[in-house]
């Protein structure tokens, strides 16, 4: 049986045009891959090779200059390049979650409410959402005395775990991870890896940037190496990307 694809990226390029500086910055050049549900693709490459930009293109945060990005949503594939803002909002509500390195939230909201919010937005009752958020925070080793405090007062590692909890709580079919474990210690990294593996087992497709080797090798099925941009324009990959289905 053909695997069901979660993401199809075809010839994606992104060049940032900085009008006021009169420059163009090529960030992603001609990247293609497809990823089925239940699998994880790691995006590799040196710093500045466009890894984050590529992941942002998959979230609709960044508009590719060329190519197309399709994500399998509730009503079939949605092309993020052509989709309107409300279609992308819908996709983010029901299909795609993005976990970045940083937790950016309105100050003074408690950790529990931050983690519960994606569920409430999806229409779950407040009490049930908070109950599930508590379970999730427990799994990520956040002590209960911190639940009612805003994460601004937390350590870097605790904040990152709140961020992971917020990203995983919805059990989205598509997970985008941008160095989600960068500030975690070894035991917490292992917990995060287990959660990512559980998500895969449930059928989620994951695209991740993992600087940590162990995390990457523990979660990823395939990898896609983006070329360095340090020396002149990037060379086209001579062979197709490492993804074979």
């Amino acid at each position: 049986m053909e695997p069901i694809l979660a993401i199809k990226a075809a010839n994606v390029s992104k060049t940032f045009v900085l009008h006021n500086l009169g420059t163009r910055l090529p960030a992603v050049e001609d990247v293609s891959f497809s990823l089925p549900f239940g699998k994880c693709l790691a995006i590799d490459g040196p710093s500045g090779s466009g890894k984050s930009t590529l992941v942002r293109c998959l979230y609709g945060n960044c508009l590719p200059t060329a190519g197309s990005v399709s994500v399998f949503g509730e009503n079939g594939f949605v092309d993020l390049v052509a989709a309107g803002p409300r279609e992308i909002m819908e996709l983010r509500k029901n299909t795609i979650s993005h976990v970045s390195q940083f937790l950016r939230v309105i100050p003074r909201i408690s950790a529990l409410d931050i983690v519960a919010h994606p569920l409430i937005e999806k229409g779950l009752g407040k009490n049930e959402a908070r109950r599930r958020a508590g379970t999730m925070l427990h799994e990520l080793n956040i002590p209960e005395r911190l639940f009612d405090l805003p994460p601004l007062t937390f350590s870097g590692g605790e904040r990152q775990r709140v961020n992971i909890a917020r990203g995983l709580i919805k059990e989205s079919p598509v997970l985008l991870l941008d160095e989600p474990t960068a500030s975690l210690d070894a035991p917490n990294k292992r917990i995060a890896v287990d959660l990512f593996l559980a998500a895969k087992k449930r059928g989620s497709a994951i695209v991740g940037i993992f600087h940590d080797r162990d995390v990457r090798d523990g979660v990823a099925d395939w990898s896609l190496e983006l070329p360095s941009k340090a020396f002149g324009p990037a060379k086209r990959n001579s062979s197709p990307p490492a993804v074979t289905l």
């Binding site: 009008h19 006021n20 945060n61 992308i88 939230v105 309105i106 100050p107 919010h117 407040k126």
Partner: protein, 256 residues
């Protein structure tokens, strides 16, 4: 469901085009930010959308509770005023425009509740207290007059007053300017909760891109009376296409 739709909206002040050909839909539960420098027409647009200023061109359609579509400037002025006292709320940049300075804070909120049809004195009092608490104003100041309030307290009182009738749409003109950062966070959270849990739709004019980024789902960037760029908030601010938007974003102090 659309609650406010603008179609080709335009308004000139003398020879100045304050607002030109603006078209968009605001849906239930949605928060839309309007950003741009002062003089770009943000406040004019907000007043047009709220039915407070009559446009020279185009129309504003209000999607009522039971699904009826009202063309805002085809209905009598009295009906528009009634909407503004009940189902719509307008928070002025200068709180003194939106408050009666000589009657008590509680009286300001009560007035709106009574106009909205509330008849029980006790319910009015309790409701006023509830909203004062939600915007973190001390309850023992319920009987003080707004003229005795600080600027930030007046701003919060005006917000409380507008939210007290549980409107379906609120129009906010720089609601967090002049507020302490801690209170600002509280107000942002209050609006977010009202929108995500109670279906409130919000149109928010702000020059603070951080506020727009944290609160609004979509934004419109205005320059010289026109919407030059619009879309998902994070896409417009993280990947701006227009030179002017890029300039705005690059001028933020610190990391948004």
């Amino acid at each position: 469901m659309e609650v406010i739709s603008a179609r080709g909206l335009g308004k000139s002040h003398g020879r100045i085009r304050a607002c030109e050909n603006v078209t968009f839909d605001l849906h239930e539960s949605e928060i839309m930010g309007i950003v741009g420098e002062s003089g770009s027409g943000k406040t004019t647009l907000l007043k047009l959308l709220a039915g407070m200023t009559t446009p020279d061109a185009g129309e504003v359609i209000y999607g009522g509770k039971d699904g009826e579509k009202l063309s805002m400037f085809d209905i009598p002025q009295s009906a528009r005023r009634k909407l503004l006292r009940t189902e719509l709320g307008f928070v002025f940049q200068n709180p003194e425009e939106g408050l009666r300075m000589k009657i008590s804070a509680g009286g300001n909120i009560a007035e709106r509740l009574l106009e909205g049809g509330e008849r029980s004195y006790r319910a009015v009092r309790e409701n006023a207290e509830k909203w004062l608490e939600k915007v973190e104003l001390p309850l023992d100041r319920l009987d003080s007059k707004p003229e005795e309030y600080s600027g930030g307290m007046k701003a919060r009182l005006q917000i409380a007053k507008n939210l007290a009738t549980e409107p379906r749409v609120v129009f906010l003109d720089e609601p967090t300017a002049g507020l302490d950062v801690s209170v600002q966070a509280k107000i942002l959270d209050l609006l977010r909760v009202l929108s995500s849990e109670f279906g409130l739709s919000v149109l928010l004019v702000t020059h603070d891109l951080m506020v727009a980024k944290l609160l609004s789902h979509r934004i419109m960037v205005m320059k010289d009376g026109r919407v030059i760029e619009s879309g998902l908030t994070d896409r417009v601010l993280d990947d701006p296409g227009e030179p002017y938007t890029q300039l705005l974003v690059s001028s933020i102090l610190g990391d948004a």
